[in-house]
């Protein structure tokens, strides 16, 4: 199989596997080191409140609040993976459904869905995200009658909201060409309903496109979470997040390099791994790609 022969893709898969293990094992690391992710160690900051660097007990050093950076990176992997996978999943679900309907039904429905997608894509994404998170964060009730509260869920919703149009557009394009093909005609002639045709006949042909696209969307969404958290708009402060760690480091990185370096490396490698994996999958699944 082509994928197996792609060394970069395989290496990426291994790295992602290790990351998943790290995320799952985060409590174990906390137990072994004896440092909880939110535990504050007074001795790890000096008289100026500046953190102390790596030592035998704190391998990656401490942050400005005296918390163990290694333990927080392990917990941060959870946030990155959850956001990357779940937000992408939601976006794919919405995007595929709408893309299928738009492409298959055409006409007014297509116009409606396509224009909506265009509008969403032209929204200033970061500004909009800042707006939502600020609006929902300023009162006790949150917004929309208390259904939306800042936190992981809101981050996932915001990210999914902005990434489904990419999927929808690609799916719609593919469906447009597929729906005129003979096997669709055949199926229609034996009396199959629209839903059956869309989901039983057309969708299976799109699986490889969707997988490839989804795998490229994951790193994008991991980065987006990091941006939001960097701006203080992401997950709550008690949940370690790489983006927030990098943000906290930005003021003092020249005297506390470990604060920026370690979360930065993990973020970089994770995004790189998912990108390489996506490339590998595309090469393997797309018969037209030549290597």
């Amino acid at each position: 199989m082509r994928f197996r022969r792609d060394r970069w893709a395989m290496a990426s898969l291994v790295f992602i596997g290790l990351l998943v293990i790290l995320a799952f094992a985060a409590p174990l690391i906390a137990t072994i080191s004896g440092h909880g992710p939110n535990e504050l160690f007074r001795d790890m900051t000096d008289d100026f409140g500046l953190p102390k660097g790596p030592n035998g007990s704190f391998w990656f050093g401490a942050d400005g609040s005296g918390r163990d950076v290694l333990v927080r990176i392990a917990y941060g992997a959870r946030v990155s993976l959850i956001v990357g996978v779940v937000a992408t999943g939601v976006a794919v679900l919405i995007g595929v459904t709408l893309g299928l309907i738009a492409g298959y039904r055409g006409g007014v429905i297509d116009t409606l869905i396509s224009r909506t997608a265009d509008i969403v894509l032209s929204l200033p994404l970061l500004l909009f995200a800042i707006g939502i998170v600020t609006a929902c964060g300023s009162s006790r009730e949150g917004c929309f009658g208390g259904t939306v509260q800042p936190g992981l869920t809101l981050v996932i919703i915001v990210i999914a909201l902005f990434s489904w149009p990419y999927v929808a557009k690609i799916v719609r394009g593919a469906v447009l060409s597929l729906r005129e093909r003979e096997f669709v005609e055949a199926s229609r002639s034996v009396g199959a309903g629209d839903l059956t045709i869309m989901f039983r006949e057309i969708l299976p042909n799109l699986v490889s496109v969707i997988i490839v696209y989804a795998s490229l969307l994951v790193p994008q969404n991991i980065l987006f979470e990091a941006y939001l958290s960097f701006l203080g708009l992401g997950v709550p402060d008690s949940t370690p997040s790489w983006g927030r760690m990098i943000s906290d480091a930005s003021d003092i990185f020249d005297v506390a390099w470990w604060l920026m370096l370690f979360p930065g490396i993990f973020l970089l490698l994770t995004v790189l791994a998912f990108n390489l994996l996506g490339d590998g999958l595309r090469d393997a699944l797309d018969p037209k790609a030549d290597r």
Partner: protein, 625 residues
Amino acid sequence: MRPRKKGTWALLGALVLAGSLGLAACGGDDSGDSDTDGGGDTAAAKGGIYRVGTTDFGFNGGFDPSGEYLGWAWGLYSNLLTRQLTGYRHTEGAAGSEVLPDLAEAIPEATDGGTTWTFKIKKGVKFAPPVNREVTSKDIAYAFERIGTGSVVAQYGFYYNDIVGMAEFKDGKAKTIAGITTPDDSTIVFKTTKPVGDFPFRLAMPATGPFPKEVAGCFTKAGEYGRYLIASGPYMIKGSDALDITSCKTMKPISGFNPTKQLSLVRNPNYDAATDSTERREALPDGFEFIINTNDKDIFDKIEAGEYEDSVDAVPPDVARRYSGDDALKDRLKGNQDDRTNYIYMNLAEAPFDDVNVRKAVNWIMDKDALRKAWGGPFYGEIATHIAPATLYPGSTALDGYDPYATENSAGDLAKAQEAMKASAYDTDKDGVCDADACKDVLFMNRSIDPYVKMTPIIRDALGKIGITVKVRELPTGPAYESSGVIANRIQAGSNAGWGKDYPDASTFMVLFDGRNILPTGNSGYALVGLTAAQAKEFKIDYPKGGVPSVDADIDKCSEEVGNARSDCWAALDKKLMEEVVPWVPYLHVNNTTLLGPAVTKWDYDQFSGEAAYAHVAVDPSKQK
């Protein structure tokens, strides 16, 4: 009423003394020689340009003295640009908090039972070019007309509401303010509706400064006049002499002030040092440049290299650490008491903070030392143990060593906190840990910037120990303040706040606990001390069954006191707030921190503005880069 406010400390008891000092200063007619502070400074001489970097001017009133409410701007006016009836020495500590006559020949005794103040204005004080005429009492009277003109938006105009006729003027029912009269060009008389013991302090605030109506009269919209400011002090905005004042239409903004880039000041040729004293203003540099540089790191690199002399921004902890550890550099690092209190507020109208036992428990558990470390440690301030800094209680010893929630190393005490919590109905099983639903997911407001974000884990950790879990909302400074100021948002507690004096009197802190000041939006007293059932109904929030404590009567009583009795009265109220009302956890009296460049030969701290005393700085141009 915003992040950085102004003020100084001083006392009414010092008024008599201040008056006589002022007279002495007038008699001594020194022409502005250096080295009066005897600090052993080397060769502080005239000349050179004093350059200051800042990430943002931060003006909240367009630099129009009528409305501007930023401490640093107040410092610029009173040190360099405008002369009010009264003023300060622009120095550190108690000496810098005494109110002195400036434009006035002396500070008079109030007559008519403390309700009439008659000021004589010095002769020979002239406005800068292009106005070029003598400052008269009518220019002061006009300042008050601006304060009473709604469109000008005089943000602290409430300090002058006690002047007879101010209300009628504001409502448009009178063309002039009945309580302000100018019998001749050098006399102005104020009448107040009741004795206002701290009136001379209020006359040192820049909104009361002289405004030449021929220029300022053209600019009656909020902040407009800031770009046309006509000086009466030793400096003026560069290019103001080029202002064409033949009519309102011919005036173009003065070239030396670009609100997004820089503010340049040059000597005011009409300033006569004989009308001033070097005790108040030495005016040594030939000019000042205030430069916006959005890169904070670069500002401090430039100071280090000698490209700037000073900054308005706080010194970053890593820079402070490096300088304080180096004997050669140590002297260039300054930390000065800023008469500010940073505090965690608790909303008295919201469970679980409607129970004083919970509020006491929070005071006991909080690790104030860790909070101070988040700010950068001891260099950044004293740990606060009461509401207003002790310097605002001159003459009173009531708060010496006062710390009703003293714990070892100020790190919090779990046993004491649990003891307090046990007395609360929210701790149903009396184990010292809150177990009621009210203690879960408490909405806690904070800012999303350093060092505030560094406090979040400390506060979360401390409150968790007594069973209070928080849902922290972190917003940028402006939105966080706005959100806390909207009562309907029902923010339960927060650490986004800090308060500085407006002038050296504790009343400028106690306004935060006056129930009559509570506003549905734009509110400043986030703890809602003194909230009434009627107000709660109006603001559409629930009123706690046990009610909300009020200190309105104490505030009214202390406001009429003078001298040491006034200090003692306010100090007693401070104690009552800490022990019976408990609206806050005060944790830090923040320092103003400064790093000086190698070319600075003389520097002082202005206790009034809480920033550099620009009236007393000097540079050595040969060391500038």
